[in-house]
């Protein structure tokens, strides 16, 4: 796999949320505004890239690798938890509003399946530079997924798009034009499940049609032969 392929895989082909279906808890809980999605994404990218780097570094030393082999999951969890603590402290100090709105979900990055999964499945078997690229790619892919869901939910549920702090795009005119009010269902918990379900269904439909086209192309090739 080339470096470019490695970088691009996280966005669509192996998107952690839409394809691998990992990290669904924060994707449902904090996507009520775009600002939250950005904040979560940044925290997540930091933890993922750092944990991938550290774990691939540890595994590049043969003796150290053999030493931690029996307790490796525990070691990984402690490393990830320390990184999460760093993020938590920085956020609490410099971005207190965002820290309050993300709440417990910053701490819960520790048990996010994506971070531990990448550590075990990728970083422990690959070089440091590959692992860093993998971390950035997966982190950006996850952030992209969060942004898509939060855009849908915030626009339909509130009529606004909050980019950061007071920077807000007001789109309530669209609803006024249609003579309806924003549908608060989408900001509720039930709306979160519904939006994720529908987005996943769209992804599956696209994949199905692609598969069907490929099959037809193969059939035609056989007929030509």
């Amino acid at each position: 796999m080339t470096k470019k392929e490695n970088f691009l895989k996280g966005f669509i082909k192996e998107n952690p949320l839409f394809v691998l279906l990992l990290g669904t808890c924060p994707a449902l809980a904090i996507t009520t505004s775009l600002e939250n999605a950005f904040g979560m994404g940044i925290a997540f990218i930091f933890v993922l890239v750092m944990s991938n780097t550290i774990i691939s570094l540890i595994n590049s030393f043969k003796k150290l690798k053999e030493l931690i082999q029996p307790v490796r999951i525990a070691v990984y969890i402690v490393i990830i938890a320390s990184l999460v603590t760093i993020v938590e402290m920085i956020m609490q100090a410099y971005l207190p509003d965002l820290y309050n709105s993300l709440g417990v979900f910053i701490s819960l990055i520790t048990v996010n399946c994506i971070v531990l999964g990448r550590a075990e499945a990728y970083a422990s078997q690959n070089t440091v530079s590959d692992s860093v690229i993998d971390g950035i790619s997966m982190g950006l892919g996850y952030t992209l997924a969060l942004i898509i869901i939060s855009l849908i939910r915030e626009f339909l549920g509130n009529g606004t798009i909050t980019i950061w702090g007071d920077l807000q795009i007001n789109l309530q005119g669209v609803f006024e034009f249609l003579h309806i009010t924003p549908i608060s269902f989408f900001t509720s918990s039930a709306g979160a499940f519904m939006v994720l379900g529908i987005v996943l269904a769209i992804m599956q439909a696209i994949k199905n049609s692609k598969d069907a086209k490929e099959k037809e192309a193969k059939k035609q090739e056989k007929e030509v032969k």
């Binding site: 279906l21 990992l22 669904t24 808890c25 924060p26 449902l28 809980a29 525990a74 969890i77 402690v78 938890a81 320390s82 999460v84 603590t85 938590e88 402290m89 417990v104 701490s107 819960l108 520790t110 048990v111 996010n112 399946c113 531990l116 509720s188 918990s189 039930a190 709306g191 979160a192 499940f193 519904m194 994720l196 379900g197 529908i198 996943l200 269904a201 769209i202 599956q204 439909a205 199905n208």
Partner: protein, 230 residues
């Protein structure tokens, strides 16, 4: 503490503030293990046990070690270590003394370490400064809520498997839509329990306070109803 308050805490953590449907904790196992009724109940029961034990231990550590020595910022690391070792200890004990239980529940125990419901409830219970008894009730209610939703949802998913659904929706998407409908139903439980008027509870989690505000209908709402009846 009155009996009313006990009922209020249990019901609000079990139904109103359900771990899965309104707090979005433990969605991974909710979607992953709910394919058959047997595994869903097995997972649910082990989560109830681990949540109650882990929350008790972490609450004690938080209040009597971390707060005293001003080490609150270490809570994430300490809590996850406590939960991981607790799960390991439970696994060893069950394996030694109740092998039959281990056979049916054993496979779910390692999964629980990375179940965010356990860590989430533990952090919420200690951060919100619940008293010991309230914390026990809160943990028990949350665990039972998890079990209840897993049980209901596994039934629904078993039925879904037999039905014809559009090709794009089959599998996880339709399960999420069903979960959404379930969440609508559960959000309607607001008002099923009424809090004691005498003392406003201070120990309950922040979200519970918000919900309890909605428990008593506002004057405007009552006026509207009276006007309509006239």
């Amino acid at each position: 503490m009155s009996f009313n308050q006990i009922i209020f805490i249990i019901f609000s953590s079990m139904l109103l503030e359900n771990v899965i449907l309104s707090q979005f904790l433990g969605i991974c196992s909710f979607l992953g293990v709910s394919k058959s009724r047997k595994s869903a109940v097995g997972m649910g029961l082990s989560v109830v046990a681990v949540i109650v034990l882990a929350t008790t231990v972490t609450w004690l550590i938080y209040n009597y070690v971390l707060v005293l020595f001003d080490l609150v910022y270490l809570k994430t690391i300490v809590f996850i270590l406590v939960i991981a070792s607790l799960v390991q200890i439970i696994e060893i004990i069950i394996k030694k003394f109740v092998p039959s239980l281990y056979k049916s529940l054993g496979i779910y125990l390692p999964l629980i370490t990375t179940n965010c419901a356990v860590l989430g409830v533990a952090i919420k219970a200690s951060q919100n400064g619940l008293t010991f008894f309230n914390m026990l009730l809160y943990a028990l209610g949350s665990g039972l809520g998890f079990l209840l939703i897993m049980f209901i949802f596994s039934f629904l998913r078993e039925e879904l498997e037999k039905r014809k659904v559009p090709k794009a929706m089959s599998g996880i998407p339709i399960a999420l839509v069903v979960a959404s409908i379930l969440a609508i139903i559960f959000s309607r439980y607001v008002g099923i329990v009424k809090e004691d008027e005498g003392e406003k509870e201070k120990e309950l989690p922040r979200t519970a306070n918000v919900i309890s505000m909605h428990l008593t209908p506002s004057d405007e709402y009552l006026d509207n109803i009276i006007r309509r009846m006239k």
